[in-house]
């Protein structure tokens, strides 16, 4: 075939790097990003300023004298009542609450989700529906009955009690995630395993679990942030020696002595948010993917 080169456009269509659509698109994104970044910026900047500089106004100006004093104070010196050990104590408690709560809630929810999608039994859907409706019940409704429940099983005020509460309230949404995820796995795999003589737990541990990594990531992220950020349960179902970090944060921020030490408050706030923030920044992509796998269907 002979090819005669012809006039006219040839090759790739020229793209303007700054087309109007692009300017609009990136412009919007950058503007919106500023809205989202503003609080973080303010918190970081303020936490690095000294009190005199703050009093001069302008929360948005960069610090003239960078000082880490507020961070040190927030971590280990800020006072609540007569305890002046800052957030440091709450951090340990938060970790001690977080790890068992996350593990327990995810283990239970994953088994539930697995049972619900692969081993349906009479009534399983009913219980699940109740559970899901439970996810939307305002916590306040449950506060009092749970106080009584914890009293009856003797876990009131202990870390164990709080772990239990977190497990209970994490269960609906996690179970939903796991159920949807397991239901989206090919049913034939489950059938094949049954023909191979595997039982409930064997299928769970040897077949399902190794395949459920993405959804475990989502569950872990959701639970870590949820539990770490929890204030209501932390304050009601624990006592000062087991207060999580958020409660300490609230105590520090609300213990106004003279004028508010904004820099310390911001540093404390940042310190408290550090763990979930790190997790989010580290796992953005996995999270989106997991959400797609477990939450969005149809």
């Amino acid at each position: 075939m002979t090819v005669t080169t012809t006039k006219g456009p040839r090759g790739p269509k020229p793209k303007k790097a700054f087309s109007r659509a692009n300017i609009f698109l990136y412009g919007t994104l950058i503007m919106v990003s500023m809205y989202y970044l503003l609080p973080l910026y303010v918190m970081i900047v303020t936490s690095l300023k000294g009190m005199p500089e703050i009093r001069m106004g302008n929360v948005f100006g960069p610090p003239m004298d960078i000082t880490f004093e507020p961070w040190v104070k927030a971590w280990s010196e800020a006072c609540t009542g007569i305890n002046c050990d800052g957030l440091s104590r709450g951090f340990g408690n938060s970790v001690r609450i977080l790890i068992p709560s996350v593990l327990l809630s995810i283990i239970i929810a994953s088994v539930n989700g697995y049972a619900l999608s692969n081993w349906k039994f009479k009534g399983s859907e009913v219980f699940f529906t109740i559970l899901i409706i439970g996810a939307f019940i305002p916590y306040q409704t449950m506060l009092y009955p749970i106080v009584i429940l914890l009293r009856e099983i003797g876990l009131m005020g202990s870390i164990g009690g709080l772990v239990l509460v977190h497990t209970i309230f994490g269960m609906p949404i996690l179970t939903l995630l796991f159920r949807n995820y397991f239901a989206s796995m090919p049913e034939e795999l489950f059938k094949a395993a049954r023909v191979d003589g595997a039982g409930f737990w064997q299928i769970y541990f040897q077949i399902m679990l190794p395949m459920a990594l993405p959804i475990f990531v989502v569950a872990i992220i959701l639970q870590v942030t949820g539990i770490w950020n929890d204030f209501l349960f932390g304050v009601i179902y624990t006592k000062p020696s087991t207060y999580p970090m958020t409660v300490q944060l609230n105590n520090i921020v609300n213990s106004v002595q003279g004028i508010k030490e904004y820099n310390v408050n911001m540093a404390a706030t940042l310190l408290t948010g550090l763990v979930p923030l790190l997790i989010y920044f580290a796992s953005g992509k996995l999270f989106v993917r997991g959400i797609a796998a477990g939450a969005v269907k149809g």
């Binding site: 059938k191 094949a192 003589g197």
Partner: protein, 359 residues
Amino acid sequence: MANSVEIKNLDLNFGAVKVLKQLNLDIAEGEFLVLLGSSGCGKSTLLNCIAGLLDVSDGQIFIKGENVTWAEPSDRGIGMVFQSYALYPQMTVRGNLSFGLKNAKVPKPEIAKRIARAADVLQIEPLLDRKPGALSGGQRQRVAIGRALVRDVDVFLFDEPLSNLDAKLRTDLRVELKRLHQQLKNTMIYVTHDQVEAMTLADRISIMKDGMIEQLDTPERIYAKPCNKYVADFIGSPAMNLFTGQLSDTRFGCNGFNLDVSGYEFSDSGLRDGAAWLGIRPEHIMTGDAAHGASYSGTAEIDIVEPMGSDTLVWVNFAGQSVRVRTIGQSGLKSGNTLTIGFDAARLHLFDKKTELRL
């Protein structure tokens, strides 16, 4: 020959929907039975019942004479191969093959022996340490078969094992499966909705429709003597041409032609009169010179010509409808021309108009 699988009065309902209805089926030892039917007719459901993956609503299932209606899938002596292979993605091929055996607490050396044998039969030795993700479709399918093989089961169940593969591979694996059956001589129950697979693989084909078995017979007989209009229409590609008309003793007449059917081999039903369907397969319609000697011959206008290489499919307008005719490749026929076609009474099919049963 003893029956390997017996199904008695099987009912299966999903809620209010009756999927299988009073189904009976006996499968002989070593037989290759294909369940064929259109989508949604209950083939997979039946297979799952045999495997014990679905609880039957009523009826009984026997395997090797034993009532297994309520037995666990793993205790029934069955192995199953799925359409999507259903290999455990995180295990190596070896792990996949040994999973069931480990569950059954088979001793290690025995497991190794069986895997070696299966790998040999299926020629998958070089793949044993790979994961399923690193295998091609055909290889995966072979591993899936191997998984049933190592468990030394009496009955193999296949649920459309080849329909995820491309045409070429499907042909090859089909032949391999046939060879495997000749070698192993296990009972095999095979679900498909592909006629070619059914025709080529089966010792007997069971044609299903709406949860019931329409005809259970050898491929040859199903092709040559479909027991009712549904089967006749279902089997054969392109499908049989059907004309509705009036049968009176030895003649069939309809709007457009009339022919002598005294050469037709009537069944025992004895009926020879009344409204009827006349069927003839596209490949049995004679064309050109050959047509002249047939029981009936006439001319038709060619509508569409579909050359398919080895043969040509011609759509002609005849007796007021579009009739498919299959003829040799490179026939030189052209749309708009006229074609002489002929019907041979010995190769016709007649069905009662009302009951749709073969006459």
